[in-house]
């Protein structure tokens, strides 16, 4: 009887410690990676952002234009940054099948030699991807929409495709994306703007990466 009791204590103690060590306490659901092989080597992967559903927040400064105006949750910048060319946007990210797979931040700001656009895309089950490109001109999307007939304050319907980043660089990555180099493009496909300035459409991030 005593031996059984002691054995129970040992098993309970050891089993709990083993569970503390071996049980995967945090694991993220992983969806199959939607990658394709490109003809000249490397792999292609597209990430999508549906507007307005996937927008989490955007800064409120004038530089944002419609991209700030349409955000449900505005990030109020300190006064020092309001006049700066600075736009920070947070999004959910989908794979090419439309499933939400991660979260992302886009920073558009002035660097030492002009504007820069940078992305941090985090897919919890896989790792992170860092993208860099020369930044678009201030108000580039607003200007393109106005050329397509949009008038501020009014409703606009149509189809507009803007290559905001025609050629960017994969600057780094972690996890599954570690050690990859390559390029990316960022295209905004806008299908409408409501009276409050909220845009409908899709942001496409198309990456081509390879292991150098």
């Amino acid at each position: 009887m005593r031996a059984l009791f002691l054995l129970g204590i040992v098993l309970g103690f050891g089993g709990t410690l083993a569970a503390a060590h071996w049980v995967p306490w945090i694991s993220h659901q992983r969806l199959p990676s939607q990658t394709t092989v490109v003809a000249n080597g490397g792999r292609a992967e597209q990430f999508l952002i549906r507007l307005p559903a996937d927008r989490i927040a955007a800064t409120d400064a004038k530089a944002g234009g419609l991209r700030s105006a349409g955000a449900d949750s505005a990030m109020v910048l300190p006064a020092k940054f309001v006049a700066e060319p600075l736009l920070v946007e947070h999004y959910k990210v989908r794979d090419s099948t439309g499933q939400v797979v991660g979260i992302a931040a886009r920073h558009w700001a002035s660097g030492d030699h002009g504007m820069t656009a940078t992305w941090s895309v985090v897919v919890p089950a896989r790792g992170s991807l860092v993208l860099r490109a020369p930044g678009e001109k201030s108000g580039a999307l607003d200007t393109a929409l106005q050329r397509a007939g949009y008038t501020p304050g009014s409703v606009w319907e149509g189809t507009l495709e803007v290559a905001l980043v025609p050629g960017g660089t994969v600057a780094g990555g972690t996890g599954d994306f570690a050690g990859l180099s390559g390029s990316y493009t960022e295209t905004w496909k806008i299908t409408g703007v409501d009276a409050n300035g909220a845009m409908r459409g899709t942001i496409e991030l198309y990456t081509v990466t390879r292991i150098p």
Binding site: G8, G12, H28
Partner: protein
């Protein structure tokens, strides 16, 4: 029946002893490296300098409702997104940071603690952008602050200072990648330190002052 009861009692006592050992386990409370002299310091204050916060339904931040701006999809329900204003040592805003966080699969309650994967995108207008990848052990905060006060209704014994950075670099430091501007092509390390200055689950409030110490080669050039 008697034997089964004795065996179960032994298992329960053993599990309880192991739980106590885990709670006081010295392996999981190790703290990050101390910041080095000369590092660039970027400060933030919670909640004052939080621009936005979106929290996954299965994640949790002290003092915030789980339903605020929830990230409900199963693939991201253990993540959080923070927008922060970062100030310099004189308190002037110098940067905006997007902090994307996710629970880390390297969490090990026996050896490493409760680990968060932290991805900072830090932009200093007029200078450039940095990417900081950090592993943060939040178990010391959970053990010393959150669990006793929030779960066991004990009085908060603060303020308390934490250095959560435990990787991924050797020496318990985060890795820094210069992405754009004057930082492009540079790499370095970073550590975080935060001081919890107020904590009151009853009032659903918490306050902290955090510091990100960034070490980059030739960073004096950037500071000019």
């Amino acid at each position: 029946m008697k034997y089964l009861f004795v065996a179960l009692l032994g298992l329960l006592i053993g599990a309880g002893l192991a739980g106590t050992a885990l709670y006081f386990n010295p392996f999981t409370v190790h703290t990050g490296a101390a910041p080095a002299a000369g590092d660039r310091v970027l400060r933030y204050s919670l909640p004052d300098q939080v621009l936005t916060a979106a929290v996954g339904e299965d994640a949790m931040l002290a003092g915030r409702s789980k339903t605020v701006d929830g990230l409900w999809e199963e693939t991201i329900d253990r993540t959080a997104v923070l927008g922060l204003v970062l100030t310099d040592e004189s308190g002037q805003p110098v940067a905006i940071a997007s902090r994307l966080m996710a629970g880390s699969p390297s969490t090990d309650l026996l050896l490493t603690g409760v680990v968060l994967s932290d991805y900072w995108l830090v932009t200093l207008p007029g200078q450039g952008t940095l990417f900081v990848r950090s592993d943060s052990n939040v178990w010391p905060f959970l053990k010393e602050t959150l669990l006793p006060v929030w779960l066991f209704d004990r009085p908060w014994r603060g303020p308390a200072v934490y250095r959560p950075t435990v990787g991924p670099n050797a020496g318990n430091t985060a890795s820094v990648l210069g992405v754009a501007g004057v930082f492009e092509g540079k790499s370095g390390s970073a550590v975080e330190r935060y001081d919890v200055t107020a904590f009151s689950p009853a009032q659903n409030s918490a306050a902290a002052v955090g510091e990100l110490f960034v070490h980059l080669p030739e960073q004096q050039v950037a500071q000019q």
